[in-house]
């Protein structure tokens, strides 16, 4: 990737991290850990990969995105606000009664959200439905989804995987955010869903494993996915939960808790230092 473009994406990812911290701190609630782990992936999707129009959020020809791990909505809201789907001022109202930014994504209330998610395991299937619709209608938009590693313990994830391969949904690209932690502890200790690569290959996916914080690797994976015919692509993105905030990194406790004022100030300072 060109240095200028790379730098630009890095700055956007840092801004999205800043937004995530702002949102969760303002709400005194939310899920920072898994939001921070997908900052680069969601940045790449909204600022490089996907064809979307903030002025016309429901444009029929747009690429679709489903955040199957819906609790990491702060990352998605940040990307949508930075992209111009709605005002950045809204971010500070996350999870409040006078806001359209629900605790989990709401396609009816929030411009730019393609599917309401939050109950784990359901989003991947809805992305399959969107990809199938494109096939039925001979449209060339693509559908993207991000699934959590803990989320992949849900049986429906594998029902959806079966479906996507069976109907040869090569217009579907699913990212598994492998940050390794879930509420009760390390994913491999709570209920080990690995190995994702071999399982998804066995289900009929084209599988690409990457460092989910490396924009060059992310770009290469999404570009490769577009060349795959006859099967869906799964990108297994190794990430760090809480990435970018030292005291949140790889800490289970930051799955679903908000920073206090002191922690907030430190997090902001750390992220700003990278900008």
């Amino acid at each position: 990737m060109e240095k200028e473009k790379l730098n630009c994406l890095k700055q956007t990812a840092a801004q999205i991290r800043l937004d995530i911290i702002e949102e969760v701190h303002a709400a005194s609630s939310g899920h920072p850990g898994g939001s921070l782990s997908i900052a680069e992936i969601i940045t790449y999707l909204y600022f490089k990969e996907m064809n979307v129009d903030p002025a016309n959020p429901t444009w029929e020809g747009r690429d679709r995105f489903v955040l199957s791990k819906g609790h990491t909505a702060p990352a998605l809201y940040a990307a949508l606000a930075e992209k111009g789907f709605f005002s950045r001022d809204e971010l500070k109202k996350l999870r409040q009664v006078d806001s359209f930014l629900q605790g989990h994504p709401d396609m009816k209330g929030t411009p730019g959200i393609d599917m309401s998610t939050g109950s784990l395991g359901l989003g991947f299937s809805t992305a399959c439905g969107m990809a199938l619709a494109a096939k039925i209608d001979n449209k060339d938009y693509r559908t993207y989804a991000i699934v959590g590693d803990g989320e992949s313990e849900e049986g429906q994830i594998w029902e959806a995987a079966m479906f996507a391969a069976h109907y040869k949904l090569d217009n579907l690209c699913v990212v598994f955010d492998w940050n390794g932690l879930q509420i009760d502890g390390p994913v491999t200790e709570v209920m080990n869903p690995t190995p994702h690569d071999k399982k998804l290959e066995a289900f009929g996916f084209h599988v690409i494993a990457i460092d989910g914080h490396d924009f060059d690797a992310i770009e290469a994976a999404f570009e490769e996915a577009k060349t795959v015919k006859g099967k869906p692509t799964a990108i297994i993105a190794k990430t760090v939960k809480g990435k970018g905030v030292s005291f949140m990194e790889n800490q289970v406790g930051w799955h679903g808790s908000a920073p206090n004022d002191e922690q907030y100030a430190q997090a902001v300072a750390e992220i700003k230092a990278t900008m």
């Binding site: 029929e60 679709r64 489903v66 709401d106 396609m107 009816k108 393609d114 599917m115 309401s116 939050g118 109950s119 395991g121 359901l122 989003g123 299937s125 809805t126 992305a127 399959c128 439905g129 969107m130 990809a131 199938l132 619709a133 494109a134 039925i136 209608d137 049986g155 429906q156 029902e159 959806a160 079966m162 479906f163 069976h166 109907y167």
Partner: protein, 313 residues
């Protein structure tokens, strides 16, 4: 004697018939032969997608298709569509108010021999508790066909219940007009009103005849749309007859009886006696003895009507 057709047959035939006129797709979960979506599949194979035995995935896939602009029918047995996939119906379809039509067949004890695990008696309760969900339970093949077309033209989620068992055709295909949310007055009466749904409507008509022979004038109303329920016709019946009996092939908890009682309590309190499956699971057997076993009979309906009249002040 009236011709008898299962409403699931009418459902499959209607999908195939309306497939020419409307653009929609149909999903099933390995039960196309039983739900009768197979009739549509045969005529429009490119618009039919089997999801295999994975009902939760099917409902969420249907939501994704609908979000991308498709009108979608998703079919399975009521037990699995409303039961197994309840949360997918609530969160993937109901919450975003997507244009998914759930065609749920083999509802109630008239599933027969397969028994309790397959005899869904809770679907009205589950589905009507979801905000914005339309719940339709046709009384016969004519109404089933009409309800399918109404569901296609309605924008939003619809749960439709169809039966496995052949039931009398009570409406004329050429003249019957179905409207979502409208109850239908079947007979006039002044002493009591039988509010029935599904296969119990034809039983209610038989019960009204028996009551008439005993000098009791019974009004019969068909409520095909369990939700949104026709408050006006129910309150009119409460005011004009002063007593109501409800009849349904569903648990007496949470279904038509509950819905009618809610309306009556709030609008015109009069006695409401509920006839249905009395908080029990189903059982294997042939349908006629099963109906006897669970009290879903014309005789019981007559007795309940008299009980409702006796409760009048």
């Amino acid at each position: 004697m009236a011709e008898k057709i299962a409403t699931r047959e009418a459902y499959g035939n209607a999908l195939a018939e309306f497939g020419d006129k409307y653009d929609f797709v149909v999903l099933d979960a390995d039960l196309a032969a039983a739900t009768k979506t197979g009739v549509f599949k045969k005529k429009f194979p490119e618009r039919f997608f089997d999801c295999g035995i994975a009902e939760g995935n099917m409902i969420s896939v249907a939501a994704g298709l609908a979000a991308a602009g498709k009108v979608v029918f998703a079919s399975s047995f009521a037990m699995f569509a409303a039961g197994r996939a309840f949360e997918q119906v609530r969160n993937s379809v109901g919450y975003p108010h997507l244009n998914v039509k759930i065609g749920a067949t083999h509802a109630g004890i008239t599933v027969g021999e397969d028994g309790a695990t397959h005899q869904c008696l809770e679907d009205f309760a589950l589905m009507r508790a979801i905000p914005g969900m339309v719940v339709i339970n046709p009384a016969d093949a004519t109404e089933a066909r009409a309800a399918v077309e109404a569901a296609i033209n309605y924008v939003g989620p619809v749960y439709m219940r169809f039966g496995r068992y052949a039931v009398p055709v009570i409406y004329d295909k050429d003249t019957y007009k179905f409207e979502i949310g409208k109850g239908v007055n079947m007979t006039e009466g002044k002493d009591v009103t039988i509010v029935a749904t599904g296969m119990l409507v034809s039983m209610a008509l038989d019960a009204a005849k028996i009551l008439a022979n005993e000098g009791i004038s019974a009004r019969v109303i068909n409520i095909a749309t369990i939700k949104p329920i026709d408050r006006d016709i129910i309150l009119d019946a409460a005011r004009s007859t002063g007593a109501i009996v409800t009849a349904e092939e569903h648990n007496i908890i949470g279904g038509l009886g509950s819905a009618v009682a809610e309306v009556v309590c709030e609008g015109c309190p009069v006695p409401v006696v509920r006839m249905g499956v009395e908080d029990k699971f189903g059982h294997s057997g042939k349908v006629p003895p099963l109906l006897e076993m669970y009290g879903l009979t014309v005789e019981n309906l007559v007795a309940k009507a008299k009980a409702a009249i006796a409760l009048k002040k």
